[in-house]
């Protein structure tokens, strides 16, 4: 809870779905690129894993959210909006009903029809809500918001209700929005009634019997068109544009999901736009021969809420963290709270007489110099490239680009590579590398922000305990940061363990073990005897993977375990993941001691199908949690 308000704050709740738009707006951190695209008068497909902020983004298009939003660029965003947003949520409860029967059961088709009708009815409710919202805009509201206003008096409301009721086959007691709301509630009750008649075996229902309920055949597009026509006519604004923001289509049954995705195809009706959010992977895909399949960049704008490159995710995460700190009453910077990061010092240049990181004794200088001393292949590389570490500090940032790229790899090799030998009285032994222990490499403000990978849910989960500590001690220790990272990783992996096993050439293999194999492969490539400037740190889903492997990797992708790397601008990942390139989420990198970057790609089958020993088939708690 926010200290000043009794309404829940976004940071207190798990998901934006149940928050009203005003509450969301109070804590909204705008991902500029994504929101700018979403505001365009085009069909959009918002793609992101769980927790990436899809719902928040969609809900922010609503006038009530825009009204409550405090942001310097708010007027510009509103100016760019040429449509009214209608937000339509899906519901996980629907899928658990359908999960009761298999597709070959006679009831399955009936349950599909009932889910379609439920979705259409909820969409109708959302449309009503959008009109009510638009009619609640008052003279006192921002000038910019006035374009969304719909002026309704009792007569007009009655007329609109009556006309819509006719088209949506509703029996109204009287003509008002309230009566329509009741009628739609009754319709949901009727759908429930039909469902429970079948479910409780009170009555056998066959497909033909459903014809008694003509409303079951009202399709979404028909409902939308009748709504748009009726409202626009009544408002005497025939060209008014409506964007239907349909959230989480992956929850819906495959046929409905596919038909909604098809609606992204450009239509001649310029009054209607679709903005749909979906997970990156889906088994529901258009066939290549399907000429009605929409094309990204042509029929719709793909908006990806994951960040292949970290500068965008760090910027977004930093804004979000600063908002969290403000909410907690901590008027300080992330750097002051968490310190600097060995991977990515946030102060690149020397200022006020302080040593720069590349100056003798500076952080980066020490790291590189240490590796040069211990690692002959790195020293050889420097020689070949004519890089003198003593001179790097005097060069410009641009001139230092090559060496800057090496710093993370150097740090990993120095810390965990074969040159890191512990001298003991009994001889030399390679230093033990525990997967559970999170090294200081990953602590510090910049690393923490990178690890969150731009995922609001992860950031909140990772930062909450640290902010609590900051409230007590004004500075967060490295060990507390490491502990919080370790817990966040363990929590995430425990979630991934619930994904069913795929069959690989090595037999059944849990997705977590697949991630282990990928992580180990990358780690081995970095810490190999020979220094590499471009080690393998990403993978391509190649043709040698089987369908069950694809399913498992897709499920992990939908949870955010992997991040899509587009090979060209505007390439997006939705549905089919074959031939696409991914990296391991930065959240998981500390577990495998990987740098927070992506190098060159390896074919995934090369990683998964090689002969390696998988220590045990399942994770145990002790594999995940690190306790000092």
């Amino acid at each position: 809870m926010s200290a000043s308000d009794s309404t829940p704050a976004l940071f207190d709740t798990y998901n934006a779905r149940f928050l009203d738009p005003r509450t969301i707006a109070r804590s909204f951190i705008v991902p500029h690129a994504a929101f700018t695209l979403l505001c365009k008068n085009e069909n959009s497909l918002v793609i992101g894993p769980r927790g990436s902020g899809k719902t928040t983004l969609m809900k922010m298009l609503r006038p009530s959210a825009l009204r409550a939003w405090q942001h310097e660029s708010k007027a510009e965003y509103i100016k760019s909006l040429l449509f009214h947003a209608v937000y339509v949520a899906s519901d996980s409860g629907w899928s658990s009903r359908l999960a009761l029967v298999k597709p070959d059961h006679p009831e399955y088709k009936i349950f599909e029809i009932l889910q379609d009708a439920t979705f259409v009815t909820y969409s109708m409710m959302s449309m009503l809500e959008a009109v009510s919202e638009a009619s609640s805009i008052e003279d006192e509201d921002d000038e910019a918001l006035q374009k969304f206003r719909i002026r309704l008096n009792n007569n007009k409301e009655g007329e609109l209700s009556s006309e819509l009721a006719k088209r949506w086959q509703l029996d109204l007691e009287f003509s008002s929005f309230r009566a329509m709301q009741f009628a739609l509630d009754d319709r949901i009750g009727l759908i429930d009634h039909i469902y429970f008649q079948i479910a409780s075996l009170e009555k056998r229902v066959n497909l033909a019997e459903l014809e008694k309920f003509p409303f079951l055949s009202i399709g979404l597009v028909a409902a939308i068109k009748s709504f748009v026509t009726t409202v626009n006519e009544l408002c005497e604004d025939a060209d008014r544009i409506w964007a239907f923001c349909i959230d989480e289509v992956e929850i819906l049954h495959p046929t409905l999901e596919l038909s909604l995705l098809k609606s992204l195809r450009s239509t001649k009706d310029q009054r209607i736009r679709f903005k749909i959010s979906a997970s990156p992977f889906s088994r529901t895909q258009f066939t290549q021969a399907d000429s009605t399949a929409p094309m990204g960049g042509h029929d719709f704008t793909p908006i990806t809420l994951t960040y292949a490159r970290k500068h965008e995710s760090v910027r977004f995460s930093r804004q979000m963290l600063e908002a969290l700190l403000r909410e907690a009453g901590l008027l300080t910077s992330p750097h002051r709270l968490f310190g600097s990061s060995r991977f990515e010092p946030s102060r690149p240049q020397s200022r006020g007489g302080k040593k720069g990181p590349y100056a003798k004794g500076g952080q980066r200088y020490s790291a590189l110099k240490g590796l040069e001393k211990d690692d002959p292949t790195f020293a050889d590389y420097l020689r070949r490239r004519k890089i003198d570490l003593e001179n790097v500090d005097s060069k410009t940032e641009d001139a230092r680009a090559e060496i800057r790229k090496l710093i993370q790899i150097a740090e990993i090799r120095r810390e965990f590579g074969v040159t890191n030998i512990l001298q003991t009285p009994g001889g030399s032994i390679a230093r033990y590398r525990s997967r559970k222990r999170i090294g200081d490499l990953y602590t510090g403000a910049e690393s923490l922000l990178t690890i969150c990978d731009g995922n609001p849910r992860w950031l909140i989960g990772l930062m909450r305990p640290l902010i609590d500590e900051a409230k007590r001690r004004h500075r967060v220790s490295r060990s507390a940061q490491a502990r919080s990272i370790s817990t966040a990783i363990a929590r995430f992996l425990s979630l991934l363990t619930t994904i069913p096993f795929p069959h690989t050439s090595q037999g059944e293999l849990p997705i977590t073990k697949i991630i282990d194999q990928i992580g180990e492969f990358f780690f081995a490539d970095i810490t190999n005897r020979d220094f590499k400037t471009e080690p393998f740190l990403s993978f391509v889903i190649d043709k040698h993977l089987n369908e069950r492997e694809l399913d498992a990797i897709g499920a992990a992708l939908n949870q955010g375990a992997f991040v899509f790397i587009p090979s060209q601008e505007n390439e997006h990942c939705t549905g089919d993941i074959r031939d696409k390139r991914f990296r391991v989420s930065y959240l998981l990198c500390p577990r495998y001691k990987l740098p927070l970057m992506y190098g060159q790609p390896a074919a995934l089958s090369r990683i998964l199908h090689r002969r390696t020993s998988v220590s045990s088939i399942q994770y145990t708690l002790n594999d995940l949690l690190y306790t000092e």
Binding site: P8, D12, T13, Y14, N15, R17, F18, L19, R50, D91, S92, G93, W94, S96, R97, A99, L100, V101, T118, Y122, M125, S126, E129, L184, D185, I188, G189, I191, D192, F196, I198, A199, S200, L201, I460, G461, R464, T487, A488, A490, R491, L493, S494, L495, L496, T497, T498, I499, P500, F501, P510, T512, Q559, Q618, Y619, T620, L621, N622, L624, L625
Partner: protein, 319 residues
Amino acid sequence: MREDIKKLLMPIAAPSDLLADEYDLGFYTIGYERRARFIASSLAGRTKSLCAFEYNTNALAFAENRAWAVNQKVLIKPLADYRVDRESNFRKFVAHYIEEYSSKEAVKRLFVDVSSMDRSLIGRLLHSIFAVIKPPFNLRLCYAPASFVEPNYNFVPARECAASIPELSGILGIHQSSLSLLLGLGYEFGISLGLLEQFEPDHALVFTPTGTDDRYDDAVRKANFDFDFGIENVGLFPYRVNQPLTLFESLFSITSNVSNLHRIIVAPNGPKIFAALATVVGLFRAPQIAVLRASLAAQPPPHHVEADGSIVAMDFRCG
């Protein structure tokens, strides 16, 4: 649940000495856990007829459990298609069995041992009993806690998540109605987290079990990351496994505000007594509440599951 039963149903604490009572009939299961027959064998001498639902397995103690049942002339009913009772065969069987073996004039006395039942069987059996039984009756729900063995803390993949039986699917609710998740906690942290991820409730209440063995309590805490789900809108609700009446009253009271505006989903992981009581509450409030089964990829534990010697029980008296 039928209205006539709803009106008269009284939850009451079972007496401490279950052997003081006699039973017309009792239901239990033949599975791979050795504790599966603990209650049946304890009450066999006081029960006119025993019926065992038999799982399709050969693991661990299954053979000895079956041998005991055969020796005791238990009516063995192999399990098939009980989750969706499409032809009403399950219900008819229960109706016939109760009719044949229970008292016609006096109060029918029956017990259901849920210790080794899966959540769908608990749902199907209780749903069938409440659908066919005629008051007056006393239904005793029994549960044999397992003696503590340090779990291996394995993370096991999920198989599916759906209503335990179709009748307990819950209502759709009005548009964007709020959602509460009542989550019973077992050893499966990933499953619990997965349910929170899947349903994204606006509030979750996590029921944390407390047994009679401190080691069990510690293990539950450890397996669930000290009950830290990394989110704020989760409340903890500790309950004692051996105080089922208190737990039932709590569940009943918490779910009293279920409505079209406020939906409730119960995911009764953890001890089966929690699942059984949640099922009774679900049946009482049906169709409003959803009661789920979030099942793991089935695999027997690496060791025998023995009863700890105690029996947890509570009664539902009607008429």
